[in-house]
C-alpha cells in the first residue's frame, strides 16, 4: 500500500535547527533501510494557486497567511498497512514538533 505524507503548518514556519535536521536525516535513512521510502522531496517556500471559478481561471502567488499550507516536504512510502504508515508519520512528527502531518493512501501510480 502506498501513502503520501505531508505536513500542514502555518505558512511561515520557524527555521529548522541543526539538531532537528540531523534527526530528520536519520529518519529518512531509517525509511530507506526499512525498504519503505519510494520518493521524497523538499518543497519550495510559497506556493502558487491556479483557480477555476465558473470557467474563469486565475493565478495567485502565495504565501497565503490566512490558511495552512503544505510545508517542508513530502514522502511517498510503501507500507504494509495504514498503521505502519501512521507509525512513520508519528516518528516524523515527534522530531519536527507542533503541527499536523497528513497520511493519505495513494492509488494507481
Amino acid at each position: 500500500m502506498r501513502f503520501l505524507m505531508y505536513s500542514l503548518d502555518p505558512a511561515v514556519p520557524a527555521p529548522p535547527d541543526p539538531q532537528m535536521l540531523a534527526e530528520l536525516g536519520t529518519l529518512t535513512e531509517d525509511t530507506k533501510r526499512a525498504g519503505v521510502l519510494l520518493a521524497t522531496g523538499g518543497l519550495g517556500m510559497g506556493s502558487t494557486r491556479v483557480r477555476n471559478a465558473a470557467g474563469k481561471l486565475s493565478v495567485t502567488d502565495g504565501p497565503f497567511t490566512e490558511t495552512k499550507e503544505l510545508t517542508g516536504g513530502f514522502a511517498l512510502i510503501e507500507a504494509k498497512s495504514k498503521d505502519e504508515a501512521i507509525e512513520w508519520a508519528r516518528r516524523f512528527r515527534k522530531i519536527v514538533g507542533d503541527g499536523e502531518s497528513i497520511v493519505q493512501e495513494v492509488f494507481g501510480g
Partner: protein
C-alpha cells in the same frame, strides 16, 4: 490513544522493528528459535503494557530491553540452559549492569544481514528458506504465509520449526559468508526473494490479497538488502528486475481478468515511478562493473521493454544480445525459448525458427505449451499456416488454463493477421 489505535501502533512497530530485534537477539543467544521466542515475549509484554502506559518514546529500544530481561529470567530459571549458555549469561548480566544505552541497542545492519543469510542458508530446503525468510524478515505471521502459499497453517508452522532445528543441528554460524561461500549463499538469498516475488506475481484476481502482497514483501526485502549490501551488483539487478516487473502489474490483466501479454499492454498504465526506480537500480548495478549476472541481465531485458514508448520501438537486437549472454550464464530450455523469440523479433522469423527447432526434442519442454505456441507464431510469419495450425492445436492441448486455450485455438483464424507474437517472457 484509544485501545484500537494502540493495537494498530503495536502491529506497526512490530512490522518495522521485528527483523532487527530478532537479528540483535540472535547475535546474543546464537539461536534463531530462542531469539524469536524472546522477541515474541517482548511483543506480548508490549500488548499488555502499552495500552495503559502508552507507546514508549523509543519502542524498538523498549522491545530489545524487555527481550533481554526475559533472556536473563529464562537463564536464571532454567539452570540447564544456563550451564549450556554460561558465557551468554555472563554477557547479558554484564550488559544489564552497563545500563540502558547498551542494553537497548537493537540489531545492527550487520546483524540483519547475518539473519538474512541464515534464513536462506543452503542447509535448508527452498520451501523452508522461503517460510523462514517471510516469518523472520518479512514480519509475516505463520497464518499469513500459509494463506499466501495456499497451504494449511500447520504445514508452514512445522516447516519453520524444522528449519530452526536444522540450522541449530548444522551449527550454522551467525555470520556474513566471505569469498566463494558469499557468492553461493547470496545466490540463495536472491533466489528466495525472487521466488516470493514470482509467487505474488502469479496471483490472480480471485486469490486472497495476501498472495499479491508477496510482490510488495519481496520488493521490500530486496530494497532492504540493497541498502545492506550496496556493492553487490546482483542485488541491485534483482531489485531492478522486480521494480520493472511490478511497474506492469496493472497493465498485465484485462478488464475481465484475462492476462494481457507484454507487447499488447497499454504502456500508459505502467507505473512510471517503479520504472524510474528500476532503471536507477539497474544503473547502479552496471556502475559496479564486472560481468553481468543473471539478475542484471534479466533486468536489462525488462528495462529495454520499459524504455520503449511503444511495442514497435522495442530494441530487439539489444534484447537478443542480453538473451545470448543470459543463456551462457544460466543455460536452460526456457531461456533458450525466450532467446528464440527475441532473435525472431530482431533478425526475422527464420532466425527465430532455427533456434526453436533445436528445442523440439528438449525433454524439459515436452509438455510446455509455449514451445508449440512460439513455433506456430513463427510459422505464421513465414506464411506456413497449415503447419502453424497444428502447432497452435498442440499448444492448446497442453494448457489447463481455459482462457489461454481459447486464445490459442483462435490463433489459426487470426493466422493471416499481422500482429505481435506470443512472447513468453514477461
Amino acid at each position: 490513544m484509544s485501545a484500537s489505535d494502540t493495537q494498530g501502533a503495536i502491529d506497526a512497530v512490530w512490522r518495522i522493528e521485528a527483523p532487527r530485534l530478532i537479528a540483535g537477539l540472535t547475535r546474543i543467544v546464537r539461536d534463531i528459535g530462542l531469539a524469536e521466542d524472546l522477541a515474541q515475549d517482548a511483543l506480548v509484554a508490549a500488548l499488555e503494557q502499552w495500552p495503559s502506559a502508552g507507546v514508549p518514546d523509543n519502542p524498538a529500544a523498549w522491545l530489545m530491553a524487555t527481550a533481554k530481561h526475559r533472556a536473563i529470567d529464562r537463564l536464571r530459571r532454567d539452570q540447564r540452559l544456563a550451564r549450556k549458555q554460561e558465557q551468554l549469561g555472563r554477557e547479558l548480566e554484564a550488559e544489564e549492569r552497563m545500563g540502558p544505552a547498551d542494553l537497548n541497542a537493537i540489531g545492527s545492519d550487520d546483524d540483519l544481514l547475518r539473519l538474512i543469510f541464515m534464513s536462506s542458508h543452503p542447509v535448508l530446503s527452498t520451501d523452508a528458506r522461503v517460510a523462514l525468510t517471510l516469518r523472520l524478515l518479512g514480519g509475516l505471521t505463520t497464518d499469513e504465509i500459509a494463506r499466501a502459499f495456499l497451504v494449511p497453517e500447520s504445514t508452514i508452522a512445522q516447516r519453520i520449526v524444522r528449519a530452526k532445528k536444522a540450522l541449530a543441528d548444522a551449527r550454522v554460524p551467525f555470520e556474513v559468508p566471505r569469498g566463494e561461500a558469499l557468492t553461493a549463499q547470496l545466490a540463495s538469498v536472491l533466489q528466495v526473494i525472487y521466488l516470493v516475488f514470482n509467487e505474488g506475481y502469479a496471483a490472480t484476481a480471485g486469490d486472497d490479497w495476501m498472495r499479491a502482497g508477496l510482490c510488495e514483501d519481496a520488493l521490500r526485502l530486496g530494497r532492504v538488502l540493497a541498502e545492506l549490501a550496496p556493492n553487490e551488483p546482483e542485488v541491485h539487478g534483482l531489485v531492478a528486475l522486480m521494480e520493472v516487473q511490478a511497474s506492469r502489474a496493472r497493465a498485465r490483466v484485462g478488464p475481465t481478468g484475462e492476462p494481457v501479454l507484454l507487447l499488447d499492454q497499454d504502456r500508459g498504465q505502467w507505473d512510471r515511478l517503479l520504472i524510474h526506480r528500476g532503471l536507477a537500480a539497474l544503473a547502479r548495478a552496471v556502475s559496479l562493473g564486472g560481468p553481468a549476472g543473471q539478475y542484471v541481465l534479466q533486468a536489462e531485458i525488462a528495462a529495454h521493454h520499459a524504455r520503449a514508448a511503444t511495442a514497435a520501438e522495442t530494441d530487439w537486437r539489444a534484447i537478443a544480445d542480453a538473451y545470448d549472454a543470459l543463456a551462457l550464464v544460466v543455460p536452460s530450455a526456457v531461456v533458450e525459448l525466450n532467446r528464440a523469440v527475441a532473435h525472431g523479433m530482431a533478425f526475422g522469423p527464420r532466425a527465430g525458427l532455427a533456434l526453436v527447432d533445436r528445442l523440439v526434442d528438449e525433454p524439459a519442454l515436452k509438455t510446455y505449451h509455449l514451445l508449440p505456441s512460439v513455433r506456430g507464431d513463427l510459422l505464421v510469419k513465414l506464411g506456413r499456416s497449415a503447419e502453424a495450425r497444428v502447432e497452435f492445436e498442440r499448444a492448446a492441448s497442453l494448457t489447463d488454463n481455459v482462457r489461454e486455450r481459447t486464445f490459442l485455438l483462435r490463433r489459426p483464424a487470426r493466422a493471416a493477421e499481422p500482429g505481435p507474437p506470443i512472447v513468453p517472457l514477461q
